[in-house]
């Protein structure tokens, strides 16, 4: 019994639960790693597409806090200590170092979006660049009036939305786990009926560069 003290048992139990939940729930980038799982910094998906409403504009979407049941969505809030950053490499060589950033903070029920603007530094630390465009919007409430901000051709939205990601994750995990050798037809969307917290930023393409850009999203915690 010494071997299995209460503390050890608790650690074993928690580890098992973490491993199990990891196996069962990971997806596009939902709950991808221990340090972000269950936190406001957990990015689920990133999208970048030409605006369906205006071919001169690009739309960026960064979703966080995935797999929200409708019953849990009204209480879900953006983390005021987390800054979401869209990094943009518009160099000719595509060196995968950010030349522009779009930064979003979520404080006091408002989203504030900074940029696109040259970052003050590159790398794992980011400083808020307050000298360029700043667009503010009220964070839209669950099932409430949709709020958006618009300034200098930049549109901003933040709030709960349907998770646009779709995937038969259960079939995939069965294949990876060795209990199945194929997907089912029709498949079953594991993300059906779940919500995320979305940041949507639409910007004129002319602010981004020419030709093509490489982009990636990060979530960053206040130091």
């Amino acid at each position: 019994m010494k071997k299995y003290s209460k503390k050890n048992f608790a650690i074993l139990l928690i580890s098992t639960l973490v491993i199990l939940s990891g196996v069962y729930l990971i997806a596009a980038d939902h709950i991808d790693a221990p340090a972000v799982t269950g936190k406001g910094s957990d990015i689920t998906d990133v999208y970048a597409f030409q605006s369906p409403a205006n071919s001169s504009n690009m739309v960026f979407v960064v979703n966080v806090q995935g797999l929200l049941a409708p019953s849990a969505t009204a209480a879900a809030t953006f983390d005021p200590e987390v800054m979401v950053e869209i990094n943009i490499d518009n160099s000719a060589t595509k060196d995968n170092v950010e030349d522009l950033v779009i930064q979003a903070t979520f404080e006091n029920g408002k989203v504030q979006v900074y940029g696109p603007v040259a970052p003050l530094q590159t790398g794992l630390n980011s400083t808020l660049v307050t000298t360029g465009n700043i667009v503010e919007a009220t964070v839209s409430p669950y099932k409430g009036t949709l709020s958006m901000g618009e300034k200098n051709g930049i549109k901003v939205f933040a709030g709960p939305r349907d998770d646009p990601f779709f995937f038969d994750l259960d079939a995939y995990k069965a294949i990876i786990g060795g209990t199945s050798t194929k997907f089912n037809n029709p498949g079953n969307d594991t993300f059906k009926g779940t919500n995320v917290l979305s940041l949507v930023v639409e910007v004129p393409k002319s602010m981004l560069g020419t030709g093509s850009v490489n982009i990636w999203a990060t979530s960053n915690r206040r130091k």
Binding site: D45, F157, D162, S198, V213, R222
Partner: protein
Amino acid sequence: MKTYIKILSLFAVLSFTIGFSSCSDDDDPMAVKTYEQEDYMARPAINTVFVNTGEKDAFNTTLPKDGAATWGAKFKTKLLALNAGYTTNLLGLDATTFSNVLAADVLTVSLTEPTTFYNGTQVLTGRALADDVITVELILIFGGPDATSNPNLTDDHVDANDKAFLTSFPYLAEAH
């Protein structure tokens, strides 16, 4: 009058000092705010599929410029574990090249062409909401050079979202 101006000047200096000192206040909007990277993603499911348990936090704090050197070899091991018969894929990439491309995790976005993960013509020019990105990735991992290998593994048969997207801002469907 002079006294009045002096008082005004003093007041101005005081306000400036107060205003300035408040810049160091943690909650002041003027304060320099610095943040440290915690999660990172570009293409869908890269960390989830290609990074081993125990290294997922490390991947999230990698910079994309270092991705291929840091994770390329490990991604190749994982790719061959998923599909031992991998030769090349629809993009014509051998295992080493494909792994290095995935490990430098960025999303290339065209400012001139249609933006899509794959639409039959354009490849990796962005990611639109309706793109069936998982099926594209399954084809690239399991489908072989002409997308016909392992037909049971190249389509999850979930081809669309459960709610229709909007044609106007913010484009994502309302929450359930």
